[in-house]
């Protein structure tokens, strides 16, 4: 079937099986390998994408569900023309990236959280990211990163050069 949706700011029309998993469509067909898969069962959050600004698990979504939606992957988070998102650089500065396999999903969940709550407490950040597993960092520096990005988003902290 033909599916129309907006991918990282650009209208797209793709031809595919309606029950193709969104994670496969993105990785295999559209070359967006920043979307990770680590369980395929909704347990880890590595495959997180934003659908109309909400964090969704692309391993549990079928292509047909994309019809008419606006989809953002990590590659599109700071796509040209849009304002630069402070999250990726904040992750790097605070040391929140180790192996990096959880990071794209983590960043997108954090983005969705900051849309809802521009000044979250550490506890709220932990809650907002509790669906995203990270095996490397112990989370502390990820929480630091989101706090920093939130402050930057509000203009309370200078952006990195």
């Amino acid at each position: 079937m033909r599916i129309n949706f907006v991918l990282n700011g650009e209208p797209r029309r793709v031809e595919c099986d309606p029950d193709r998993r969104v994670v496969d469509l993105l990785r295999e067909e559209l070359g967006l390998t920043g979307v990770k898969e680590a369980c395929g069962a909704g347990e880890c959050g590595a495959c997180t994408v934003l659908v109309d600004g909400q964090a969704r698990l692309s391993c549990l979504m079928l292509a047909a569900q994309l019809e008419g939606r606006e989809l953002t992957t990590i590659e599109g988070l700071a796509a040209a023309g849009q304002t630069l998102d402070p999250l990726p650089a904040s992750f790097v500065e605070t040391g929140a990236v180790q192996c990096g396999f959880c990071t794209p999903g983590m960043v997108l969940s954090a983005r969705a959280l900051l849309e809802r709550a521009p000044a979250p407490s550490r506890r709220e950040i932990r809650q907002g990211l509790s669906g995203n597993l990270c095996r490397c960092t112990g989370y502390q520096k990820i929480i630091d990163a989101v706090e920093l990005a939130a402050a930057r988003g509000r203009g309370d902290e200078p952006w990195p050069r």
Partner: protein, 770 residues
């Protein structure tokens, strides 16, 4: 074909981290492309069986199937393994656990692959199986490797020092306890993955998520009967490894598939369930400890009986056990000891390397026993540890003299001075209704590098490119520790270049030089020294050549500065790209081999223990302080604070060191509180991340990491390893905190609410429920 699918030439770790945070890093699983085939294996599904036949004909006839292979298609030894080559690539005569791979299928699509794997028919005749290490050692037990001289005993080690256990009877106070530690699954987010291709000239390129590209090349070559020179292994950064990728997973299978399908790229990517079933775990363990002290609290004797369930294959199990044996008595002076350790084959899932490498189990037993002894002596547990903590020159329980930097005393001092420790009474008393609070401590040590026999060698190569930019060819893998960034930093310091200006080339057996595994807390310790050597050599050569070029000046008058060489007396400068053009390609490359110091001590005359790594020369140290709150009604244990003091020698990049410790601490916390890998009759009962619970952002506490000042002579810039020491202490510190809170602690883990409630009811003393 040029192996894309991984990036190199990026400049700094920060760039690397940024690439990851933007989703641009290419992991081993991230390659797709036209004509890519998919490979997968059919696993045995029974724990122990003789293989009578494997019929692939129906699979081969299925649509989209390109190849279906069995052990009969393997020309080499069909055996892999690091020390004992006892694990088949594809099972031949028998199946030894449910996850054994029996047939390999290559297909055009994932769907075709999945369908074809179902069509493989296995004729298996089941054999009696054994799942308990004690039963496996009993007379008449089914033997898992009939050719193995020790029967089901993979490795047994015994070290006796002083007058041994006899001294226990003379001790003013003696305590004893038996502990059981569960399997722990690595649960790296990136499951085993890779891709391969056989090129027109017959060479095989294998890109995989691995900690050991050079060793893989040797193992794959032997197992498949190939000339190692025919193999090119490439190791992009892993999506987590922690020891679980210290050994072959997809590599041989991909090579076999590529041999059968020349010219086509072939990908293999294990599912989460497959990874849980077939990847190695931290060894399940049973430990029986007796510890005695004199009336002043000085440790006099230790008797430790250690049994590790290694599953059906060695997979470094012997080395893991030996490291456990070496660390059995912790960072304490103990003049008399008897340590008996056994690693036993069973038909359970395979156990192998996991960050900590046999130490977390013994640290758990030792540190909980120390608290029992403190209680018996009526001593403050932190104080008792300080009294017995080793200093440089002291001898630990297995008879190893500590000759390197030894700052466990400082670690304990820092905890003692911490406001959490000083204010613990008031904090505990402030617990709300139905809440109890406790504070626990643990002290640990962790060896750095390989043991005395296996050379711990790094070979660094640095090149000044024709464009005037330096490239550093990394011999050890980047697993997220940021080690390659540290190498870059070391090279930049020596070469006088701006931070981030040296290109980092990730391991590739064609371009980099063999430098051992990314494991054993050794990467920076060993390879860092090699980098310093290579950078120094290249610097001297560049200065000499530049001096020649400027006619009549001495190299000593020259300085290497960012992008240029400067003649200091006159200020004349030579840009590096110009200098590069004055040199041949060979002159622009410097190589340095560094071998880490190997201990010359022989605490045991047993060559097998020496071969498996006893003893080490350099150790890092750590101490953990944990504060927990227990809900009396639900048994819920909450970690309120967790402080880790670490002696890892000098610090090159404090942020990188801190993130290693934090990550290790939360893995250790998961080990203590949540992670219960369960198998019954070899069948995995916790097959996925819904049933095997690792800590989430809500479970991890706010942590504090304190680095005590130290300097290890043999380390690069005084540094020791920091990758593992953080994982050894959390479990016993939490257990001791629980005991502090409720007066008792289970001896089984993890500390689930049920077990906490049992401890509250005082049942823990009897060892908890089976």
């Amino acid at each position: 074909m040029n192996p894309r699918g991984f990036q190199d030439g990026r400049k700094t770790s920060r760039d690397g981290d940024l690439a990851k945070a933007r989703g641009l890093e290419m992991f081993a699983a991230d390659r797709y492309g036209a004509g890519m085939l998919w490979a997968g294996v059919r696993r045995a599904g029974v724990a122990h069986a003789a293989i009578e036949g494997v019929d692939t004909s129906r699979a081969l006839a299925a649509p989209g199937v390109v190849a279906a292979l069995t052990h009969a298609d393997i020309k080499g030894s069909n055996r892999q393994g690091v020390i004992q080559r006892d694990q088949p690539v594809l099972a031949d005569d028998r199946v030894r656990h449910r996850g054994d791979a029996v047939a390999l299928v290559v297909a055009e699509t994932r769907q075709a692959l999945a369908a074809a794997l179902e069509l493989i028919s296995l004729q298996l005749s089941e054999l009696p199986a054994v799942f308990d290490p004690d039963q496996a050692l009993a007379k008449g037990a089914p033997i898992i490797h009939p050719g193995h001289a020790g029967g089901n005993l993979l490795l047994g080690g015994r070290v006796e020092t002083g007058r041994g256990e006899a001294v226990l009877a003379e001790c003013a106070a003696m305590v004893e306890a038996e502990y059981r530690l569960p399997w722990q699954e690595h649960a790296y987010l990136e499951t085993e993955a890779g891709w391969a291709i056989q090129e027109d000239d017959g060479r095989l390129i294998i890109v995989s998520s691995t900690q050991t590209p050079f060793r893989d090349r040797q193992e794959v070559a032997e197992a498949l009967g190939l000339d190692p020179a025919r193999l090119r292994m490439i190791a992009p950064p892993t999506g987590g490894a922690f020891g679980g990728k210290d050994g072959v997973s997809v590599q041989s299978l991909l090579a076999l598939a590529a041999l059968a399908c020349p010219g086509r790229p072939i990908k293999m990517w294990w599912s989460r369930e497959e990874s849980f079933l077939a990847s190695p775990k931290r060894h399940r363990a049973r430990l029986r400890y007796r510890l005695g002290a004199d009336s002043q609290g000085r440790f006099q004797a230790l008797a430790a009986e250690i049994v590790y369930d290694t599953g059906p294959y060695d997979h470094l199990g012997g080395a893991v056990l030996t490291l456990g044996l070496e660390h059995a008595g912790g960072p304490y002076r103990i003049p008399n000891a008897l340590i008996e350790a056994r690693a036993v084959y069973t038909n359970n899932p395979v156990s192998g390397a996991f960050r900590g490498f046999g130490v977390p189990q013994v640290a758990a037993a030792m540190e909980m026993t120390v608290d029992l002894l403190a209680a018996k002596l009526g001593r403050d547990p932190l104080d008792l540890r300080r009294l017995n903590a080793v200093r440089r020159g002291d001898i630990i329980a297995p008879g190893v003299t500590l000759t390197g930097s030894t700052e466990i005393g400082q670690c304990l001092d820092r905890l003692e001075a911490h406001d959490l420790w000083r204010g613990r009474r008031a904090w505990k008393e402030a617990a709300g209704p139905f809440q109890r609070r406790g504070v626990g401590v643990a002290a640990v040590m962790h060896a750095v590098g390989y043991g005395p026999m296996v050379p711990d060698v790094g070979n660094a190569k640095i090149e000044l490119g024709a464009d005037g930019v330096f490239s550093l060819f990394c011999g050890v893998v980047e697993m997220g520790q940021g080690n390659s960034a540290t190498y870059g930093l070391l090279a930049e310091r020596v070469l006088g270049q701006e931070p981030g200006s040296v290109r980092l080339i990730q391991p590739d057996t064609d371009r980099c030089l063999p430098s051992g595994s990314a494991s054993a807390s050794r990467t920076t310790f060993t390879f860092g020294n090699a980098v310093l050597g290579a950078a120094t050599l290249l610097r001297e050569r560049l200065l000499a050549r530049a001096a020649d070029a400027l006619l009549g000046v001495a190299p000593a008058e020259m300085a290497l500065l960012p992008g240029r060489v400067r003649h200091l007396p006159t200020g004349k400068e030579l840009p590096l790209d110009l200098l590069a053009r004055l040199m041949t390609p060979e002159q622009r490359v410097a190589v340095h081999r560094h071998r880490a110091p190997a201990s010359t001590q022989r605490p045991s005359a047993d060559p097998v223990l020496q071969m498996h790594g006893l003893p080490h020369e350099v150790f890092s140290f750590g101490a953990v302080l944990a504060a927990v709150e227990i809900d009396e009604l639900t048994g819920r244990l909450r970690v309120e604070r967790l402080i880790t003091a670490v002696d890892c020698g000098g610090l090159i990049d404090p942020l990188l060191a801190e993130r290693q410790v934090e990550g290790a601490v939360v893995q250790g916390l998961g080990y203590g509180l949540y992670e219960e890998f369960l198998a019954r009759e070899g069948r995995v009962l916790s097959p996925d991340l819904a049933t095997y619970i690792i800590p989430t952002a809500l479970d991890a506490p706010e942590m504090e990491t304190v680095f005590v000042p130290g300097h290890e002579e043999s380390g690069p810039l005084g540094l020791k390893g920091v990758g593992e020491v953080g994982i050894d202490g959390p479990l016993p510190a939490l257990a001791n905190a629980l005991r502090d809170a409720v007066g008792d602690c289970p001896r089984r883990f993890p500390l689930t609410p049920e077990r906490v409630l049992e401890a509250l009811a005082g049942a823990g003393e009897r060892g908890g429920r089976p």
